[in-house]
């Protein structure tokens, strides 16, 4: 009897790609080896997944098998003297915070949601608001346990080439069984934060340069504005506070949207109204305030299933990074294209990445400016706009984030990732993904 069940239920966060998968969800670590071998031996191949918070098709394998790792979430060891934690790859960062914060530790890097697993964090070598000081997630990983579909098991340390392939390796080098990482000591659950409005794109770069003293920075851009207000927005920055209160985030959320919202819920008009109000409201709050880490790092987690606001057709996210020489002009060109299209996004995020090298051969972060935006899926209109954005990114020598992508061409991918040929040597031949099948030329 196989532990895999066929289902059409697995979708990624963007909800665009639909397909049938054979899915297995192991409950005990020793089940992984057999599942990997079984998946790897089938024509559609296999892929390990976490909490499916990737937007596109890099965490999907339509027609193939998926090994859902989120049920494997046990701690192996946690040394509260050093902050070194070893746990199953399915442990979520939210659960990690729940067990580590009361003892004075926090994940070294967190993305914009706490619903990601250690395995997903490694496989996309995720970045957070602290990239300029801390680098990517993978920089804090000290050891990895990797199971290949041929049954072999590899305990990897950062100097191993297979480690460099696995960090940022999109799940294609094997199933990550466990992750050991170094957590960051914190006093408590609170940060000092402030929001600084800026009127245009130059304003953003000025504030970013002047924010060296802040561990966490990110900016929100009002994409509906063109002309002189192009790139206006709010710069948000903060530092951990020496505050002894260690209250963990509440697990309560507003109930998830049970249905896809009707498509008119997010038309250009509501978008403009939303963006303008948000700008007006936020820019009135001046100075520093004390904030809990949950609204600071994970503002959207309070709304269960917000991705369904984009309707049944789903949405694309577009995230690129442009190296320093091209950053300013490139981001301006991207924002111009978006403002002109009227397909402005619900959320637009701009941040500078620092110079710390990323450990993965396919890690997305590199020094420069990264812009991330959502686009409701309107078919060819949307794909046409995204292709125009691709041209700008390519021109500037930038690249796109596979965790967010569901449509780029093989050429666009190859262009952005010069280490691709070294990476290919470490592929597990029994693994694949929708993304990977698409970018094979």
């Amino acid at each position: 009897m196989t532990a895999f069940q066929t289902t059409g239920d697995v979708v990624s966060w963007g909800r665009v790609t639909r397909g049938l998968h054979r899915v297995a969800r192991p409950a005990w670590p020793e089940q992984v080896a057999a599942l990997a071998a079984e998946a790897g031996a089938t024509p559609g191949k296999g892929l390990a997944i976490g909490l499916s918070r990737s937007y596109g098709d890099s965490g999907l394998n339509p027609g193939g098998a998926l090994i859902g790792m989120a049920g494997l979430d046990r701690v192996h060891a946690f040394d509260t003297a050093t902050g070194i934690l070893c746990a199953d790859a399915g442990l979520s960062l939210g659960a990690l915070i729940g067990l580590a914060l009361p003892r004075g530790f926090f994940p070294p890097v967190v993305p914009g949601t706490r619903f990601v697993t250690l395995g997903g964090a490694v496989a996309n070598d995720i970045h957070g608001k602290n990239h300029h000081g801390a680098g990517t997630f993978g920089r804090h990983v000290t050891r990895l346990g990797l199971r290949r579909t041929d049954g072999s098991f590899h305990e990897l340390v950062p100097s191993d080439p297979l480690f460099g392939a696995t960090v940022g390796g999109l799940g294609l080098t094997g199933v990550i069984e466990w992750v050991e990482l170094r957590l960051t000591p914190v006093q408590g659950a609170w940060l000092d934060a402030e929001d600084v409005p800026f009127g245009d794109l130059d304003g953003f770069f000025d504030i970013a340069a002047a924010s060296e003293g802040f561990a966490h920075t990110v900016a929100w851009i009002d994409c509906t504005q063109g002309g002189a207000s192009l790139g206006r927005g709010l710069f948000s920055r903060g530092n951990w506070r020496a505050d002894p209160d260690r209250t963990v985030h509440s697990a309560k959320r507003t109930p998830a949207l049970p249905l896809d919202a009707p498509s008119f819920a997010l038309n250009a008009l509501t978008l403009k109204a939303f963006n303008s109000t948000r700008y007006a409201l936020k820019s009135q709050r001046a100075g520093m305030w004390r904030t809990h880490y949950a609204p600071f790092f994970f503002p959207l987690d309070a709304i269960g299933g917000w991705n369904r606001l984009y309707g049944a057709r789903g949405f694309y996210q577009y995230q690129c990074v442009l190296p320093p020489p091209a950053a300013r002009d490139g981001v301006r060109a991207l924002l111009q294209q978006i403002a002109r299209s009227g397909q402005g996004s619900f959320l637009a995020v701009l941040k500078t990445f620092g110079p710390l090298p990323s450990p993965g051969m396919l890690s997305f972060p590199r020094e420069g400016a990264t812009l991330a935006l959502d686009f409701a899926n309107k078919g060819d209109d949307t794909l046409g706009l995204l292709a125009r954005l691709d041209a700008v990114v390519r021109e500037g020598g930038g690249r796109l984030y596979p965790a967010k992508d569901g449509r780029i061409s093989a050429a666009m991918f190859e262009n952005g990732y010069p280490n691709l040929s070294s990476f290919r040597r470490h592929l597990d031949p029994g693994l694949s993904s929708g993304f990977w099948k698409r970018v094979q030329s």
């Binding site: 409950a27 701690v75 729940g98 067990l99 009361p102």
Partner: protein
Amino acid sequence: MTTPCRVIILGATSAIAQATARFYAGEGAHLLLAGRNTQHLHTVAADLTGRGASAVEVEVLDLGAPTDASAQLAVMAARLGGVDDILLAYGVLGDQTQAERDVALARDLLAVNFTSAAQWCLAAANLLEDQRRGSLVVIGSVAGDRGRQSNFIYGAAKAGLGTLVQGIAHRLALRNSGARAVLIKPGFVDTPMTGHLPKGGPLWASADAVGAIVRKAADAGGPVIYAPFFWRFILLIIRVIPAPIFHKRPL
């Protein structure tokens, strides 16, 4: 600091038991994990230690076998230096269709889910009554509320267990013993026990959600707690549907 809560968990490798144990671990409890799979017990023990349990003991035994449960429990309690809560979580769903035809299999199912569980519950009741404090928390099932063709052998064992625990709760209360007993009746829970069933929809709860209810039940409430609460109303309806109508449905 107060002394950590001391808890014996019978069937500690169950998904619901693990979820419950994580709440105890977060409070710094001292845990004893009883079960039959040595490797799994140690995996769970490491997890609970990593989550803050002050200490975790492992006791390997087949809980379904007849044994001197009072003596066994006394040994476990001694390993913890005394006990505050006893959780009984193990059980097997079994294959109803097969068990209908193979009476020996049915007998085994009843033996594990009722007979063996009853010996532990009775022994626990005596222990808690004698020490005049502590809680016995037992996982039953909504399947025990009305016999249904799809799972009535398992259901019958859970019904019997439920009646037993209710009776123990009555006895402990009446004698002002200071000890309590609580029966938890989960509905559909996403765990390995239901791994073969299609999941999703509002009726399915996570082991974590049920674990939170179990942990609270050890401190207060009862004697019968549905998990989540809405199953109380669903079962109320299911119990009152007249047989002529009920018998037309393949529930």
